[in-house]
Symmetry: C2
Subunit: 544 residues, 2 copies
């Protein structure tokens, strides 16, 4: 066993009892249903974070002492029970465990290879930035200032001046772009770094979705012309779409952000937007910004063109974060736990021996090992759960909780029939496969699951889209947790007004994006909010 | 061109002039010789850091305005001129450019795959740690306290309590080890993370070698028995040796640290130690610590053994950092710049067209492209320098500065003879290779260079080793910048005394390690410093 299933025995308490009891016990792991209590199902979003660490501390002690405390653990939900996340004793910070990090590594492997094809080069810029430089671009710092964490002391000494921890690296990098770029021959300049950033937010921390420190990649590029910058914005956005749709099986809309919602200090922002039907909230999946020449002006980033005169560069910046993992969990998870798309599942196949009484356990174990060996040799990520202190039933629940796409069971009957039983995590379907067809059938099934997850998620998302024309329709749709597509006059004042009028406990509604795929807009169509002539269709809703 | 050679035209000022002039001009890049002014050759170690950022700021402006300022750039040395490092406007922080990051990625690829074979799992723990937890292990915090950076503000608000930035993650991780480990079945627990850490040191910041933020991997493991922990300490140490000797071609000694020099709070520390002949200083290459049960006690990390009673775990932690790149630069670099071992060179072969007047430039360009294509297809990292604004001579110097192991020149004569001219960076040897043997010859040459660099470095290092027996011999050897191997009584008081007696401008001498390969210690051998019976041979010297 090397699958990070460590310590999970705790949830099962006494574990390994009679089969029926075990089944019941593991059910404790999912005390909340996704459709009934989404927040609790996902994590502990509604619990104030201070309480969380207090409860945890108490829990440590209880568990240490009693060593059987399943009631407590039942309140920790899918991201914790699946062993992706561990809560940390600083609010808004989380421990990413192997079950999350291995997904992050798979996404990184894909994305990093793709951007290297686009001639992006790896850099590492410092975590720290001086106040002076951070404040150089006014709109930019206004956007980030309230969330910046400041280092003011080292050891017992006060620093001469406080130093900021990067919330993003535009201001860290661009003074050096100014230094490195002289001539048109130095362009394009294409930097990427994989790193941590810190945004000390105070609103509801939620694992993956909103955390005070997170991991991301940030790409920063400079071009001689706007055309080149524009082109790259969309190349990167397409890679982000592929991460969501092809890897995480999460449907997203590509589109452009409104002036209010664009990146602070940039020219325009494009994004991929996902939607969580259970909460009726949109969620920004990743952003690809064209910064225009604004930072170039502030940081004096110019080049000598082929005719010998000076011009300002055109810049982009773009990023996706560990949030993507959270969006995937919310999209596919069910009342049994995680459901992982095969392409990013740390483990694609878990093999479980089912040794009935009097069966030839050695032969079963041998068949299991040979199955795992064959699958690994063929490039699948497969493992074997040989733990003897858990029943097969407990293991089924455990690996369902962790979302492994395929479970293979091998018992005496399978052995006799030269077959294995395969169970799909996404729809529970069971099928017996002849051992001789193992590799091709597993390949086919994993492909089907990957496809089915995206298809199902897309159907659910599409069923939530509601086209509206009037304010009344808008508020009704909002209350019904719909993803609202509305004709809009594209005026900032109107978006502000909509925000003000929808303010409330659940947060205000705002534009999510103006999708690139625009339905027809018949002449004379009016803005749902202002009654002025509409200029475009935009997605509206509450968001994360 | 995709090799990160961007902006290097600046060093050459007007560039592309007559051949001889160019040669002279590029020489400006190495104003200091390695054997004469090592500190300046490597970086700007002797310049106070405040001055550096001031000089840089001025330089930005000068360069922007005058666009020809080679005198200034001549004072930036090998790590800067080779485009590995850019100085940053916060002292002790450096920008790692692609020429450094690509080396780091190659090292990471090797090491990460090796530790995954050892069942290490990827984790990411938070950057931050509370004061309370940080101070749990007394010796440990005493070791790190003076260098800890503290966050005290977010936005404009004071935090309730200051939060530390991790200088290392023992205290970040071990409260959760306590939670995750219950039973002997949860062991071993093996965590690794790749991340940044911060140590706000005040002594001489030096790129790679001593920086306030650096990148590393840190492995943290827990075992049921001391034997398992001991075994892993050495497995990891062997991987560190391989990084240095097989990849970076830097000879190292495996050994054990003295009680004074061991990891704060640990049981014992092993390390690989390198030596820089030019400065006569030892340098710790990487450390693999057995923490014993000390942290287990402080953080209550216990497990139920197979007999049902509670025991404390045995722990290790181990790390290597971007410092390794600096050691490699210091070891192999020469008066022309970097010399990179082929296994870690971002670029192994640079192909340069040599288009004499009236030559068939199209055919030459074609031959160059075909050469690069063939090499890349065979798995080598090769690129072509087609820039037309630089002469071949300028390019030779440029790629020598960057340390590319092999240069291939193709001119009309080579074309006619169906050959290419290959020039080795390590010894300058030139050889003509028939195009038909290209791949096998390049493979052979790169292998030879890799081997030769280690062999040469080992000879230089070994020539510095001096076996001494008396205090007089010791001080003479120390003044002569030798790597001192001395018989020692292994008493902490004696090491303290040696430190006190050798205090001075260059720093005190101390033990580097007690090498595992011990020469014979004849009975009656006395400690060089105390005159008491010697217990072992240890390496002594000044160190980084």
């Amino acid at each position: 066993m090397s699958s990070g299933g460590k310590g999970s025995g705790k949830a099962g308490g006494g574990g390994g009892g009679k089969k029926k009891e075990v089944k019941k016990e593991t059910k404790l792991g999912m005390a909340y249903k996704k459709d009934d209590n989404f927040g609790e199902w996902y994590s502990e979003a509604l619990m104030p974070s201070v309480t969380i660490s207090f409860v945890h501390s108490i829990a440590y002690i209880l568990v240490k002492r009693l060593n059987s405390c399943s009631v407590f653990f039942s309140s920790l939900q899918v991201v914790v029970n699946s062993e992706m996340i561990e809560y940390y004793d600083i609010s808004g910070c989380y421990i990413l465990r192997p079950w999350a990090m291995e997904i992050w590594e798979l996404l990184k492997e894909f994305f990093d290879a793709e951007i290297k094809k686009l001639k992006l080069k790896p850099y590492y810029f410092p975590l720290f930035v001086t106040e002076n430089v951070l404040q150089k671009e006014k709109d930019h710092i206004e956007g980030f200032a309230p969330e910046v964490a400041w280092v003011t002391k080292s050891g017992k000494s006060e620093l001469e001046a406080p130093i900021a921890i990067r919330p993003t690296s535009e201001t860290v990098m661009y003074p050096y772009f100014s230094k490195w770029i002289r001539s048109h021959r130095d362009l394009p300049l294409r930097c990427n770094q994989w790193c941590n950033v810190v945004r000390w937010e105070f609103s509801n921390p939620t694992p993956f979705i909103r955390s005070r420190e997170f991991l991301w990649q940030e790409g920063h590029t400079a071009f001689a012309t706007k055309e080149e910058a524009d082109e790259e914005v969309l190349q990167i956005l397409e890679l982000y779409r592929r991460i969501y749709e092809e890897f995480l099986a999460v449907p997203v809309s590509k589109g452009r952000k409104s002036e209010m919602e664009k990146f602070a200090g940039g020219l325009y922002t494009t994004s991929v937007e996902a939607f969580i039907p259970n909460t009726g909230r949109g969620i920004q999946g990743a952003t690809s910004h064209c910064l225009g020449q604004n930072f170039a002006k502030m940081f004096d980033i110019t080049f000598e063109n082929e005719k010998g005169s000076r011009e300002m560069v055109w810049q982009n910046s773009w990023a996706y974060t560990t949030r993507s993992i959270g969006v995937m969990v919310m999209t596919h998870g069910d009342d049994k736990g995680l459901v992982l798309p095969p392409r990013i599942a740390p483990l694609q196949v878990i093999v479980i021996p089912v040794p009935y009484k009097d069966a030839d356990t050695t032969a079963i174990k041998g068949a299991c090992e040979s199955t795992v060996y064959t699958l690994n040799e063929s490039g699948f990520r497969a493992d074997l759960d040989t733990r003897e202190n858990y029943s097969p039933g407990w293991k089924y629940s455990h690996w369902e909780m962790k979302g492994v796409p395929l479970r293979i069971e091998i018992g005496p009957k399978d052995l006799a029939n030269k077959q294995v039983r395969v169970v799909r995590r996404d729809n529970g379907a069971k099928v017996d496969i002849p051992v001789d067809n193992l590799v091709e059938e597993v390949k086919r099934l994993l492909g089907e699951i990957q496809e089915n997850l995206l298809k199902t998620a897309k159907e659910k998302r599409d069923a939530c889209i509601e086209v509206i024309h009037t304010w009344d329709e808008f508020t009704t749709a909002l209350n019904n947790k719909r993803l609202i597509l509305a004709p809009w006059c594209d005026e900032e004042e109107v978006e502000k007004d909509v925000k003000a009028r929808t303010k409330g406990e659940l947060g205000a509604a705002k534009t999510l994006c103006t999708p690139f795929e625009q339905p027809e807009l018949p002449e004379g169509t009016l803005c749902f909010a202002s009654g002025k002539p509409a200029k475009k269709w935009s997605f509206w809703g509450r968001s994360y």
